[in-house]
Amino acid sequence: MLKKNTTLFLILITLFVSNTFAQQNDYKVKSGTISFKSEALLELIKAQSKELKGIVLASKKQFAFIVSISSFKGFNSPLQQEHFNENYLESNKYSTASFEGKIIEDIDFSKDGVYSIRAKGNLTVHGVVQERIIKSDVIVKHNTISLKSNFTVLLADHNISIPKVVHEKLASEINVEIKADLIVK
């Protein structure tokens, strides 16, 4: 009988410990913006989405970020937005772009400070997965993480082909910027 109680106690302790351990340091994007810029000879195309979502599990150094392709706005014309969704990113088939993986550095997110981190993981755009290491600047203040990151995406890496007629209007390398505020989940 005593043994049984001990067992029960052990199970409870196990669950309790692992629960607090896992949830203590989970952060979730409260507000996130992702924007991109294509600087070509004849045309500058910019668009952004304010619907960036993400989670950082600081205890396990894991993260996941995702954005819906059709949430990008601010193109030069409605038709351009339609072409972006229909012909290039094919948002009907590949509705999201995402980045998930692990943070390389050991950062204690419970301590305020300014950190530069590298995130290693899988970047999925247009259904094509690329392993990438992306640098980010992180400011931690009162359990809030402010994240800022710039990186480039090569269209060819993600199987997005540019027809000859728009070569001078669309850059082959796209600049992406991410800004996000994360709070404890």
């Binding site: 052990l10 351990f21 599990l57 996941a64 409605p78 012909n87 998930e100």
Partner: protein, 299 residues
């Protein structure tokens, strides 16, 4: 007994590992994906442009966008080599569509067929969407007024200006079934102030059906058919049937098609089509659309 204890501790240990690893990245990704899927999302690009072949699609142009359209029909292919299989003949409509909002567009046009002017607006009443509270279809309402400006046949009798006018009320119910396949139904009511014979009906009803199937990202095949309800059909006319292709290149859409209709406004197209596909009364034609963004950038 001792063995049992060891086993239990081992199980605890496994449970603990399981608990920790249960929430790995793909799990948090799934959680995020679910959030995104729940968000209401409007379906776009059910069709490539605002016209299917002769008639309307459910599509509007965006706010502040002007779409200039030149539609051209040659003569009947069965006219033979003397008319170079119809190429010697031309029926043209020149028109422009403009988006006042993303859900309301207005348009005007002038056709050589019966020297007809037409004006319409197209209002989206429902938009197909996914996510929470999704709507399965897009619904548009298109009233059109057409003005025939041919000289009156008998100038000696008393002619009224109103005799030149006819009205069309059309609903379009459309659904984009997949990335490549869209279908629409077009119930249409047409009122003509003046008809040729006393026996001809002034009020006509037709049901249109149309669809597109994308062949590549930038090319699709389209079909459009208007069935005149037998009781409200214009005598000695046929139903309009057209088959065509949309070819898109940046800001242009080229539409190439075969049809038995000469007219390109609803009244002409639905109730005044004379050609019979079975007899070879087929016309080759094309529409060229070029869009210009003249309003502010989309926000």
């Amino acid at each position: 007994m001792r063995f049992k204890k060891t086993l239990l501790i081992t199980i605890h240990f496994f449970l603990m590992i399981l608990k920790i690893s249960a929430q790995d990245t793909s799990d948090i990704m799934k959680e995020l994906e679910k959030e995104i899927q729940q968000k209401k999302e409007f379906v776009t690009a059910t069709f490539k442009t605002t016209r299917l072949i002769n008639g309307h699609t459910v599509e509007n142009v965006g706010k502040g966008v002007l779409d200039i359209k030149i539609s051209h029909r040659f003569g009947q292919i069965n006219e033979g080599s003397y008319e170079l299989f119809g190429l010697d003949e031309a029926t043209i409509r020149i028109g422009g569509d403009f988006g006042i909002t993303n859900n309301l567009m207005v348009g005007i046009g002038r056709s050589t067929f019966q020297k007809t002017y037409d004006a319409f607006f197209k209002l989206k009443l429902l938009r197909q969407s996914s996510g929470n509270n999704s709507v399965p279809i897009t619904l548009s309402y298109i009233p059109t007024i057409a003005l025939k400006t041919l000289k009156f046949e008998d100038p000696s009798r008393k002619n009224y200006f109103s005799s030149r006018i006819s009205y069309t009320h059309q609903l379009i119910i459309a659904r984009k079934f997949s990335k490549n396949t869209s279908l629409q139904l077009m119930p249409t009511y047409i009122h003509k102030n003046l008809v040729l014979l006393a026996a001809d009906p002034n009020n006509l009803f037709a049901l249109g059906i149309g669809g597109r199937q994308k062949l590549t990202k930038r090319v699709s095949i389209n079909v459009e058919y208007y069935y005149q309800l037998p009781k409200y059909k214009m005598p000695n006319t046929t139903n309009s049937l057209s088959i065509g292709f949309d070819i898109e290149t940046g800001g242009h859409v080229f539409q190439l098609h075969f049809t038995n209709s000469k007219g390109m406004t609803e009244k002409n197209l639905i109730t005044e089509t004379a050609g019979d596909w079975a007899k070879g009364d087929i016309l080759f034609g094309f529409n060229i659309s070029r869009v210009f963004t003249i309003g502010n950038r989309s926000k």
